[in-house]
């Protein structure tokens, strides 16, 4: 499946590219930050695993049931990219306002990606979730309208956990 191969190569390259970029720019504790973010996303994926189907990956890509480290890595890349862009663009903005900008930025990135994943057949929704959806879609996509408010819901929990976990390590 060509889509899947492209997705895998892009996800791994993009995330490693981000790591190298941050290393060259002198960011501190980069590996730790990536690991915390990976763990934060994994926590959420573990909780919501019965709701999603991630099909077609090679056996080695799956960590547990439907959870694949490729998708988790993709989320890590998206979150880290968002933090970099927002933190750079809104350097002087207080943290409590920046949080809302993170959410807006993530919403703008995630919805088109989710549409791409659904069209390519990589991502689908389990009946347990599909049965609760309204049946409306985001115009010009096949993404359920519920994604518009579901994305900020779960990303807000992940952002907070990531920031708090970093604070815990920084204060050691």
């Amino acid at each position: 499946m060509i889509w899947l191969l492209l997705f895998e190569v892009f996800t791994i390259t993009f995330t490693i590219g981000l790591w190298i970029f941050m290393k060259n720019k002198g960011y501190k504790n980069i590996t730790r930050k990536f690991l915390i973010l990976f763990f934060s996303v994994l926590l959420f994926e573990f909780m919501s695993e019965p709701m999603w189907l991630n099909d077609g990956f090679q056996k080695w890509a799956y960590i547990w049931q439907d959870i694949t480290w490729i998708i988790t890595l993709g989320w890590v890349g998206i979150f880290m990219f968002t933090f970099l862009i927002v933190d750079y663009t809104f350097r002087k903005t207080p943290e409590k306002k920046k949080f809302w900008i993170y959410l807006l930025f993530l919403e703008a990135i995630v919805v088109p990606i989710e549409a791409g994943l659904v069209i390519s057949g990589i991502r689908s929704y389990a009946p347990i979730l599909a049965n609760t959806l309204s049946g409306y879609f985001i115009p010009l996509t096949n993404v359920p309208i519920e994604a518009v408010y579901a994305v900020p819901l779960f990303t807000s929990l992940i952002i907070c956990f990531y920031k708090y976990a970093n604070y815990l390590f920084d204060r050691r």
Binding site: L43, F44, P50, I128, L157, I159, C160, F161, K163, R171
Partner: protein, 185 residues
Amino acid sequence: MQWEFEVGVILLTLLILTILKKSNKKIYRRFGLAFLAVILFEYFTHPLWINTNLQPWAYLYLDVSWIITLCWVNLILVSMAIVEYIAPKYRRYRELKKFLLTMVLITISGLYLEWLFLRLEVRQYPEVIKEYLDATFRIGNVIPIIEILYIPTFMALIIGFVRYWELTLDSANSENKKQVRRKKK
């Protein structure tokens, strides 16, 4: 079941808030943050659970119930308060130890709360989830290991949300106070 469970939870919440107000002046803020975090989480994962046998006014959206949310919030508030009470003993790694200890307390009490929900029949699982739980290893042939993992997972995200916002708001407040002092000078 009649309305006793719902009213009992509301009264217990009021009692907990009244007691904790003495040791934490910002308890209402913590309560609001914890409520918001739990409701976000419950809304997102609502297809995984069925909250049933509650009064119609106890539901917010589909089967997401603010009474169930209050139960989790009470558990979080009490666990955090207990840990904060004994925390001054820790000189090093204070916040990290507080977090880990809170997680241990919440995991143990959360398992009892989930068991209580099941006993009172306010919580049920969809067939798919039952099959899912049945397929996993059970500790002592009783508790599915997955449930022991779910509660700390869920709570780590919630505690992270609450503490992140508490720290952010506190630092914003102290920054504002500094600015006011500078202006006065």
